[in-house]
């Protein structure tokens, strides 16, 4: 949207997260699930970068690995020129003040035994606001910002609806004035009418507090609405990354094309060519050789099963990992 966001905030280079698969009597490592397999991207200050993909594509793991809530196996995560992966636990704790997260399930991510005041006040206390009165004041401010009322502070999570709980989660993330918020499917559990309220709120907050979001979602219409740039993931790899308009109007990767054509459209007059993919997403513990998508790709060639395509820029700021476009770059 705005073009005055040239400052690089976050840079992810060759990020990998492998989970060991253990088996046998002695629980030895018998394999690996490559949840995130060599993903690179950067996030500018003030922008909303969306990561989309189907379940198991590694979008949530990417978000968690950036915050080191799940320790990355390999790769570099640079936040304001500081390599996050090399920080000590204490330094990381301090840095988390600037990197917050909102979770998908507003029912599971709030402690049912704590009042809202305690939930939102906790991060303030952790980051050094020791005066109870100050905290109380700040909690009230935050509740106001997210559209709740100050009297809600003494209530417990079960007394709120799903949308209100998500607002509490947002207030908690905002408590320490972070620079960046990772939003992991923040509206997937909400009804349409409430979803619209939360999306609008997030948009307003971004403008008001100059936030940067990494917005993880599977709903392509929601992503289209909120984001500036979109990365499409498949089986732990980035398939395509481009600005929102470019990606939706001119998708290059066959997977992106299929994904976009599969979204049911509520406009009964909208005509399009449906691409129905065959089969299921392969298991990430045994991903196909070469391009991970070749087993379902309508345009698969011989080379696709042998060589993993390079994730490269084929047009201005339009990155694709697909052999169909490898010539374009060379010529």
């Amino acid at each position: 949207m705005q073009q005055n966001m040239q400052n690089l905030l976050l840079e992810v280079n060759g990020l990998k997260k492998y989970f060991p698969v253990r088996g046998g009597v002695f629980g030895r490592k018998v394999g690996e699930v490559k949840a995130v397999d060599d993903v690179s991207f950067s996030v500018m200050e003030g922008e909303i970068l969306a990561l989309v993909g189907e379940s198991g594509c590694g979008k949530s793991t990417t978000g968690k690995a950036i915050l080191r809530l799940s320790e990355p196996t390999e790769g570099e995560v640079k936040f304001q020129d500081q390599d996050v992966t090399k920080l000590s636990a204490e330094e990381m704790r301090k840095l988390r003040r600037n990197m917050q997260i909102i979770f998908q399930d507003p029912y599971a991510s709030l402690n049912p035994r704590h009042t809202v005041e305690k939930i939102i006040g906790e991060p303030l206390l952790v980051h050094g606001m020791t005066s109870a009165n100050e905290r109380k004041q700040r909690v009230k401010e935050l509740l106001d910002v997210v559209g709740l009322s100050p009297y809600h502070a003494s209530r417990y999570p079960h007394q709120f609806s799903g949308g209100q709980r998500q607002r509490i989660g947002i207030a908690r993330a905002l408590a320490n004035n972070p620079k960046m918020i990772i939003c992991d499917e923040p509206v997937s559990a909400l009804d349409v009418s409430v979803q619209a309220q939360i999306l609008n709120l997030m948009d307003e907050l971004r403008d008001a507090f100059h936030l940067t979001y990494i917005f993880i979602a599977h709903d392509l219409s929601v992503v289209k609405h909120i984001s500036d740039r979109v990365g499409v993931m498949y089986l732990g790899r980035m398939a395509e990354l481009a600005s929102k308009d470019e990606l939706y109007d001119n998708p290059k990767h066959p997977y992106t094309q299929a994904l976009l054509s599969a979204v049911p459209d509520p406009d009964p007059d909208y005509q399009r060519e449906r691409i129905i993919l065959k089969g299921d997403v392969p298991s990430p513990s045994d991903p196909p050789s070469g391009c991970a998508f070749h087993t379902r790709c309508p345009y698969a060639m011989d080379v696709c099963s042998e060589v993993r395509p390079v994730f490269q820029e084929i047009e201005d700021n339009h990155y694709v990992a697909c052999h169909l476009y490898s010539d374009t770059v060379q010529s």
Binding site: A262, V263, D265
Partner: protein, 339 residues
């Protein structure tokens, strides 16, 4: 053109008895389903769409749930008071059902084959061998690869999309007249959802199975249904042809719902959102259930309950704006919307 009516609900009331009093989950729903038709029921969580479908099958857990009044006509029979014995014959055989969560609706201890064969042999007298062959054919029909191997596998060995295919295979195994699908694709990814919707459309066209599709996704409705019923707080608020409802919604709730959807095609800066939240079904209130959130609400809406007004051409809307007596208000709303 009017085809044979298969299922007709008349003023159905299903209530739940809880510690906090009686909660009307379904509050006077009437609807009909004809042969070979696909009808969608849409609404947000808690609007009573699932309880409506469970009531048809008499699967509402009792207690606390209870069908308090109303009739359910299946073909020529009123099944609202049918015996459990009769319901067992109907379920699976004449009315099939698919649920949202394919993992919890399959028994993890039995193979896929076991479960489909059981369903077939419960209703029809055929040998195990024949039933097995038929199961394999059904699995092939719903697009399961290696059907002859999958039949000996357990549910946990299959992916979500495959499990949902197995559920569909099972529910159509006895060639039911009606298939009730309760959020069949909600737990699935979009590319898999497209596959499942395709299978359901084929079943409808090839076998003339009538489908009652319950969903919260207006996109899925646009894709599959001919007619749609919009529910809010246990009541039908609008009914009509899919095209007309999505293009030209009449009830303020439907209008708000459609406007608050982020669109894949089109560019909107701020989404419209319906203020407030879905009312707590335990709190009884007078007047229109949607009035507190409605931008067109006037005094009458808070005091009197609107009926379903007929707008002609099989369209109805539960809103006073369509009462002839309220001509001025309707005009006012029309002009507000136009601006």
């Amino acid at each position: 053109m009017p085809k044979e009516t298969l299922l007709e609900l008349e003023n159905l009331h299903t209530h739940f008895l809880t510690d906090n009093g009686e909660i009307p989950a379904v509050n006077g729903v009437s609807l009909s389903l004809h042969k070979g038709e696909i009808v969608g029921i849409v609404g947000e969580s808690g609007c009573g769409k699932s309880v409506t479908s469970l009531s048809v099958m008499q699967l509402v857990p009792n207690p606390p749930g209870k069908i308090v009044s109303g009739n359910i006509h299946f073909k020529d029979e009123n099944i609202v008071k049918a015996s459990q014995k009769r319901m067992k014959q109907i379920r699976g055989n004449e009315i099939g059902m698919i649920f949202q969560e394919p993992m919890t609706s399959l028994n993890p201890l039995f193979t896929i084959g076991n479960q489909i064969i059981e369903a077939i042999r419960f209703h029809r007298k055929i040998s195990k061998k024949e039933a097995k062959q038929e199961s394999i054919d059904l699995l092939k029909l719903v697009g399961i690869p290696r059907a002859d191997e999958v039949i000996d596998e357990y549910p946990h060995q299959l992916s979500g999309g495959m499990r949902q295919r197995v559920m569909i295979a099972m529910s159509v195994s006895c060639d039911p007249d009606i298939l009730i699908a309760d959020e069949p694709t909600t737990a699935l990814d979009v590319t898999i959802q497209a596959q499942i919707l395709d299978i359901m459309r084929d079943l409808n066209q090839e076998r003339e199975t009538a489908i009652l599709l319950i969903t919260h996704d207006l996109g899925v409705v646009a894709e599959l249904c001919e007619r749609v019923i919009v529910m809010y707080a246990g009541q039908v608020v609008e009914e009509g042809n899919v095209r007309e409802i999505l293009k030209d919604p009449q009830h303020p709730y439907t209008k708000g719902l459609i406007r608050s959807l982020p669109k894949l095609h089109g560019d909107e800066q701020t989404l419209y959102s319906i203020p407030g939240t879905v009312p707590n079904p335990g709190l009884k209130k007078t007047g229109c259930q949607f009035a507190p959130r409605c931008e067109f609400a006037f005094d009458r809406c808070f005091n009197e309950e609107p009926e379903l007004y007929n707008l002609g051409d099989k369209r109805t809307s539960r809103c006073f704006l369509y009462d002839k007596k309220e001509g001025d208000a309707a005009e006012h709303a029309e002009s507000t919307l136009g601006s």
